[in-house]
Symmetry: C4
Subunit: 195 residues, 4 copies
């Protein structure tokens, strides 16, 4: 497929998902600071989801730069990734509304997990489509790839579920931790690629 | 016309239609799982429409790659196609709200049929604009093209209408069947085009 | 300025304006055909505005292809054009809601007129920025350019205002007439430009 | 990083923020001119925010044209800039609703200030990434860069806060003044860059 067209189509969808999340922050019903603060948990959930998606976009952008062609399989792995991400506005808004309740926290966590699986599948398809060994290695060295391939990922996923059970807002702490670690541990060549 | 600009304009519109459909999935009014499940039929309708549009985009992308120039006629066939697709958010949300009622099911079905006709016209215009025989043949070999040219298409369209009459959600089953068959039967060169 | 970036930024804004208009077509509150028909005037207003914007985009696309550079003046003429167009969703929705009332019809008409003036200014700036005489002539030959330069335009604008006063929905008929004539009378080279 | 992809991703987000602000202008509840005028302060706030973002985009576009590569640091400075800007629809709508109240005016002002700081950081990162002295000088000559580096900026920021305290709508006058001065004092080469 036409890689540039798939990229810009993907970017448009990600940009819209990112931006419609802010539509869920309702204009305060009154003119007091307290009216604005009613939205506080929505602000927090929005902020975390916003940066989380940007970190993911950074990795997606890096990975796509390593793909030579976009096969039908890569296209569909990418679509599943976009589809799961399209639930972020709903899951973020629900969590922002009831930040201390179990079902919204678990729903947010499920969307987060499914999205991780979709990402894993996408990276696997991009890796498989290349014969170039150096590039395969680069993808395998991405922190997100290594983390999701590690048995610790499944174990920690289980532990996090228990922690959320006792303290629902923990799901946001999980997001922040993954966000920051994905932000720090990027492949060294990721911002030199096009220089 | 400038093919790249028409493509990216089309992609932006398709990306927005795809994403605003998710706005119709309302944030649950309570914090229980049952509040989320109230949205179940909306989720199902959304999922099917989302992937249906992506499959159509895949075919659109393939067909446009075969066009050498975008004539005024192709541009307007493309616009009609976009216009009909712009009713998907409304028809999907209406069906998602009343999944077992006749009028929403038939409205969804009409949008679906008109969109198919618009697509047929678009493929016809792209085919007609090329003198190259090989490319004409490629377009004629697309499963969606062959299907809509076949008298069986009109016959089955009639049978489906009857089935929807007795069981409205059948319209979604129809979508899934067309989605899956369009997903499987793509031209062999469609994902090798740019390698 | 970077012409490609201005074009794609413009296209993104036009695509969003085009698509959010459909958000004003509310999902019917009931499941009867009559519930859908409650939206009929909104459908009609939406359809006309949708195609009107597409026709304008076609002319915009043609005119920009004749521009060699995007100067600060052209950029700002373009921004005013986008700004006025951004009122189309509101003016269309208001007219769609009260299709037989004077204020919504005149508001729609004012947006329409201001948009035409913005377009005229934009075409003037693009024309002035080129020294090439052939290209100046091409812009002057565009039907929309010729029409807005003609005194008849101001006279007919006045007559239309009177007709709207007696029959508000006439504003939509005006749009359709301009739409169709702009659709038919395009410069001959407009769809051969890039072949 | 891929500069073109970061640019078009940024443009898509800016275009959406710009356009969803218009969604906050509600369709009037009645068909009288007075119903439209109920929206007057929302119109004013929208207009100022719309052009303000466009002026900022113009400067952003100029600055990015001077960047050779987009490093991880530039990418994140750009993201913070986008994040702060994503509060414009909410802050504009809140101010538009209660144009004579302190909290909405100060919230709008804070978003405005944070956005200025984000912009300053972004320009600093782009400047630092280049070794070319001529380009460093160009960025330093941008009126927005010079203004925010000047102690007068901090002093005037304080004075404006006091003025807003006594007359909340003053925040919009501040925006208009900055808008117009940024519009007039642009680097001379900013619209000749690509000729």
């Amino acid at each position: 497929m036409n890689k540039g067209r798939v990229e810009s189509f993907t970017d448009a969808i990600v940009a819209i998902i990112l931006t419609i999340m802010v539509l869920e922050i309702k204009v305060p019903g009154g003119y007091q600071w307290s009216d604005l603060l009613d939205n506080l948990s929505a602000f927090i959930a929005y902020t975390i989801s916003f940066f989380f998606i940007l970190v993911a976009w950074y990795n997606h952008h890096y990975m796509f730069s390593l793909a030579r062609v976009i096969s039908k399989k890569i296209f569909w792995a990418n679509n599943i990734w976009l589809f799961v991400m399209s639930f972020y506005p709903v899951s973020t808004a629900w969590l922002g509304k009831y930040i201390d309740r179990l079902p919204p926290a678990f729903f947010y966590y499920f969307v987060f997990l499914f999205w991780t699986f979709a990402y894993q599948w996408l990276s696997y398809e991009i890796k498989s489509a290349r014969e170039n060994k150096e590039i395969k290695t680069k993808i395998e060295h991405m922190s997100i790839y290594q983390f999701t391939k590690n048995p610790i990922f499944y174990f920690s996923g289980f532990v996090i579920a228990i922690l959320i059970f006792y303290f629902p807002p923990f799901v946001l702490i999980t997001s922040v931790v993954e966000l920051v670690s994905m932000l720090i541990f990027t492949n060294e060549d990721s911002d030199r690629l096009f220089s």
